[in-house]
């Protein structure tokens, strides 16, 4: 059964259970694995403090209990210990919090501010659009990492809140561009023309007709952008410019473990693999949503 046909059936059925079943059926195994991975990561990161097998990520088992640094996996330490004998598994789980928080804040800022701004200027056009898009172009012209480095350096103190805020601010321009492009397209659709023809107020058209049709594209983009942001945060952490230690982040785990790579390569491999799987999963899910959305749009 083609995806278009599935979507068609979903649209026709009107049944929630049926929707869920067809949604699942439309997922390839790759998408299902990606969703599963993200579920595990989000679950562990969210409930880490209450999960008994996730230990304190900052506790020095070597200093206080005599365990080895850079130890291999064992029953006590599933993923071994790092260079100062902390539990790699616990740090991996807590590190996900930072990546997910930064990614989520970036998505939220982008969706809310960038999405609204882009839809607004794409719908109303005029000078506001020209000025907004010129500003967006200026910001996007800078290499993202360089701009991020500058902003993070200015802030000096680097808490999770500050890093998320900075990344969130930098996420607004690309969302604005995507939202504006979609708003331009939606604005020319027949149903928008029809709404105008019957005298609906422009703001109401924007809120009721344009933005709801821009959101699906933004969400598909958001997942891919979130993956990019996670890599960006990892790069910042690797450069020592993300959240301050001892807070665990994947990038910082890689950064710290590289000095002991000749002793043990695993402390580098675990966070790298987690980052790769997460980014890959978000990309796969984003692609799937984008295709699904395109099929739905075509069907409409």
């Amino acid at each position: 059964m083609s995806e278009a046909a599935i979507i068609e059936r979903v649209l026709e059925s009107g049944s929630a259970d049926r929707d869920e079943e067809l949604l699942f059926a439309s997922m390839s195994w790759g998408v299902r694995l990606a969703v599963g991975w993200m579920f595990i990561v989000i679950f562990l990161a969210t409930f880490a403090a209450w999960i008994p097998f996730v230990r304190d990520p900052n506790y020095l088992f070597g200093l206080f209990e005599g365990y080895d640094n850079n130890a291999g996996p064992s029953r006590k330490f599933w993923l071994g210990t790092d260079s100062i004998a902390r539990d790699n598994f616990a740090r991996l789980v807590y590190g996900a919090r930072v990546s997910l928080t930064v990614g989520s804040v970036a998505v939220a800022c982008g969706l809310v501010v960038g999405g609204f701004l882009g839809s607004l200027v794409g719908f109303y056009r005029g000078k506001a659009e020209a000025i907004t898009m010129a500003l967006v172009d200026v910001v996007l012209a800078f290499p993202g990492l360089v701009l991020l480095l500058v902003m993070v350096s200015i802030t000096q103190k680097r808490s999770l809140f500050v890093i998320s805020l900075v990344v969130g601010l930098l996420s607004i321009p690309p969302y604005t561009r995507v939202a504006r492009a979609n708003a331009l397209s939606v604005t020319n659709r027949e149903y928008v023309e029809a709404a105008r023809a019957i005298g609906t107020r422009p703001m109401r058209i924007l809120v009721r007709e344009v933005i709801p049709n821009v959101i699906p594209s933004l969400i598909a983009y958001a997942l891919i952008a979130a993956a990019f942001i996670m890599v960006l945060e990892g790069s910042l952490a690797f450069l020592g410019l993300s959240v301050q230690p001892p807070t665990a982040t994947w990038g910082q785990m890689i950064f710290q473990a590289r000095s002991d790579m000749r002793l043990s390569v695993w402390p580098v491999v675990y966070p790298s693999a987690a980052l790769v799987f997460t980014v890959l999963s978000l990309n796969i899910i984003g692609d799937w949503l984008r295709q699904r959305n395109a099929t739905r749009s075509a069907a409409i």
């Binding site: 079943e21 699942f24 599963g36 209990e65 365990y67 071994g80 100062i84 950064f255 790579m261 000749r262």
Partner: protein
């Protein structure tokens, strides 16, 4: 539907559990201490062609025997930890990589012997008057610059005005108290000092005052000199490709010969390549991309010891790492806090985090155990790792109604611990943080700043030189005479204090520790050349540190030069008078004695 989702999740969880179980190395038990591992690494160290190898505990400082030679020709490519932005000895900031280049382009008036005494290089001798205010130095004849100009006493005199205005030399001249330099003969130079300084020759071993450059060229083209330096040294600048490669070629007219009368240097070329990442630099050496490298990181030394086919020239000098407290800022202005936090510094664990177990010795003073200035009494007095003692001191401060930080009785103290963003330093400060916070009396905020910001925070020009630092990672000391670093490091920390006490102001008193009595001892120590007298004074200074704790120590800084097989003579250099040199302090190589053999 629900069943399908359950299957998917179940599969993933099973996969995760299997992966964890398969990796079991049976390591549930706490195993042997890392100190034992470190000792094993030392045993497994590659051979060091050492004539004298001083082994203190499990750390090594090696000095190679002078090689017979000569085996001429060949090229050595040296991997450095950074690029040298400029190569002007009077002007450009210069750390170990830069010194590696400079020492092969320029000659110095004096060098340091393997007994850490200044010994003549371009100078033959130096003698003071009775009160050490006038020093007369004789120079070696027959020395020429790379551009063919002769070196003589007038050269040294003409360098003086340039050094006075130099960003680097200016401060050193002031610290040494030099007020005039005159050529009093063709090869005789007279230094006049503002106050007696018995250790003045030690300043002439340094880069700022002791390195000889062409003053005429320096005046006519100061900017060009930074990248095209001219000295009297064994190698000549051939090509400078910044951030890629600096190529030096043999100075065929070099004035110095080896002990058998063979001309120096032996090598045709040396190339210096900046490879900032420690792991990449070591990999480059192992793979043969470079055939020599320098490092100041204990973790790299540890890894290099394990690599096959390398020869390591390690140096365990006086330089000691650790941290400093800003003693003008609460709560570090209270000795109980400083001493308490120092008692809570587990040196062995910190050294281990730095990768230095079996490489670096724990520090208790500014001198390493093989230094003539080292004091057992100070080592015994230094606050050792002792959690109850440290906790008690901080508790006393916390319970003091007159505590200096203005917090209420019983509230934890706030400490900002800051280091540059190096992985091993970050690991080390997390170890310190863990112990400090384990007392329940200390809130620690860890911060990282790049090296320049880190230094500027301690310099504190904008804050009346008080600085914005709290507890900072830092390094001190060198293998020079103690006066060359201690007298400036603990002069009046702010202009206001300098004015109040009528003493010199020093911008580099980074801990802002001011003790008039101790400063008096430092001044006294350069008024005599009697070693026992001087030793007693420096021992008193170090005892004061052990009591007041303006700084804390982790371990002495082990440095190393690594070379591939067949490269010899790295640390076995001798002075023109046949005195064995200091080897490779600060991973600084004198490549003019290096030769490449067949094997």
């Amino acid at each position: 539907m629900r069943r399908k989702w359950s299957k998917l999740l179940g599969l993933l969880l099973v996969f995760g559990l299997i992966a964890a179980a398969c990796g079991d190395s049976g390591g549930d038990d706490a195993t042997a201490t890392t100190a034992e591992q470190g000792a094993a690494e030392t045993t497994a160290a590659p051979t060091t062609a050492a004539a004298t190898s001083t082994t203190i505990s499990d750390a090594v400082t090696s000095t190679e025997a002078p090689v017979a030679g000569p085996s001429y020709g060949g090229r050595v490519t040296v991997g450095l930890e950074a690029e040298a932005p400029g190569l002007r000895p009077w002007e450009d900031a210069c750390s170990s990589p830069c010194r590696n280049m400079m020492v092969n382009i320029y000659d110095k008036l004096f060098e340091i012997s393997n007994t850490f005494e200044p010994v003549g290089w371009l100078a033959t001798d130096i003698a003071p008057n009775a009160d050490f205010t006038v020093w007369v130095m004789n120079l070696r004849e027959g020395v020429q610059f790379h551009n063919g100009k002769d070196f003589n006493a007038q050269t040294v005199a003409d360098m003086f005005p340039i050094q006075q205005t130099g960003a680097i030399s200016g401060g050193i001249l002031a610290a040494a108290g030099v007020v005039d330099i005159q050529a009093t003969g063709d090869f005789e130079v007279t230094y006049t000092l503002g106050a007696g300084n018995s250790a003045f020759p030690a300043h002439l071993t340094g880069r700022g005052l002791g390195t000889v450059f062409d003053p005429e060229l320096a005046l006519s083209d100061p900017d060009g000199y930074a990248q095209n330096p001219v000295g009297t040294g064994p190698f000549i600048m051939a090509n400078r490709d910044i951030d890629n490669e600096t190529l030096l070629v043999r100075n065929d007219n070099y004035w110095m010969t080896d002990e058998q009368g063979n001309s120096l240097p032996y090598l045709d070329e040396i190339a210096f390549r900046p490879i900032p990442d420690e792991g990449t630099r070591l990999s480059s050496l192992i793979s043969g991309t470079v055939n020599a490298m320098q490092t100041l990181r204990q973790g790299t030394i540890r890894d290099a010891r394990e690599a096959d086919g390398l020869t390591l020239f390690e140096f365990q000098g006086n330089n000691v790492g650790g941290g400093q407290f800003n003693t003008l800022v609460p709560p570090y202005d209270d000795k109980r806090v400083r001493k308490g936090l120092t008692h809570l510094n587990n040196q062995d664990a910190v050294i281990d985090a730095l990768g230095g177990t079996g490489i670096s010795l724990p520090g208790s003073q500014w001198f390493s155990p093989d230094s003539p200035w080292y004091s057992e009494a100070v080592a015994a007095a230094w606050p050792q790792f002792d959690i109850p003692a440290g906790t008690a001191l901080i508790q006393e401060y916390v319970d003091d109604p007159a505590r200096s930080d203005g917090k209420a009785v019983g509230e934890s103290i706030d400490v900002e611990l800051s280091c540059p963003p190096d992985p091993t330093l970050i690991a080390a400060m997390q170890v310190i943080e863990a112990v400090w916070t384990s007392t329940g009396l200390v809130n620690v905020e860890l911060t990282q700043f790049d090296q320049a910001t880190h230094i500027n925070m301690s310099l504190g020009v904008d804050t009346g030189f008080v600085g914005t630092h709290g507890a900072h990672c830092w390094r001190w000391s060198s293998d020079d005479d103690p006066s060359t670093f201690l007298n400036t490091a603990f002069a009046a920390p702010t202009p206001a204090i300098a004015e109040e006490f009528g003493v010199p102001f020093s911008a580099v008193n980074f801990p802002n520790y001011w003790d008039p009595e101790m400063f008096g001892w430092l001044v006294e120590a350069v008024k005599t050349d009697d070693f026992a007298e001087r030793y007693a004074l420096y021992e008193m200074v170090m005892m004061r540190f052990a009591d007041e704790v303006p700084v804390w120590y982790s371990g002495h800084t082990a440095t190393a030069i690594g070379v591939t097989e067949g490269i010899i003579g790295v640390s076995g250099w001798v002075t023109p008078d046949g005195v064995l040199g200091a080897g490779t302090p600060g991973a600084e190589g004198r490549w003019h004695f290096v030769q490449i053999t067949d094997g």
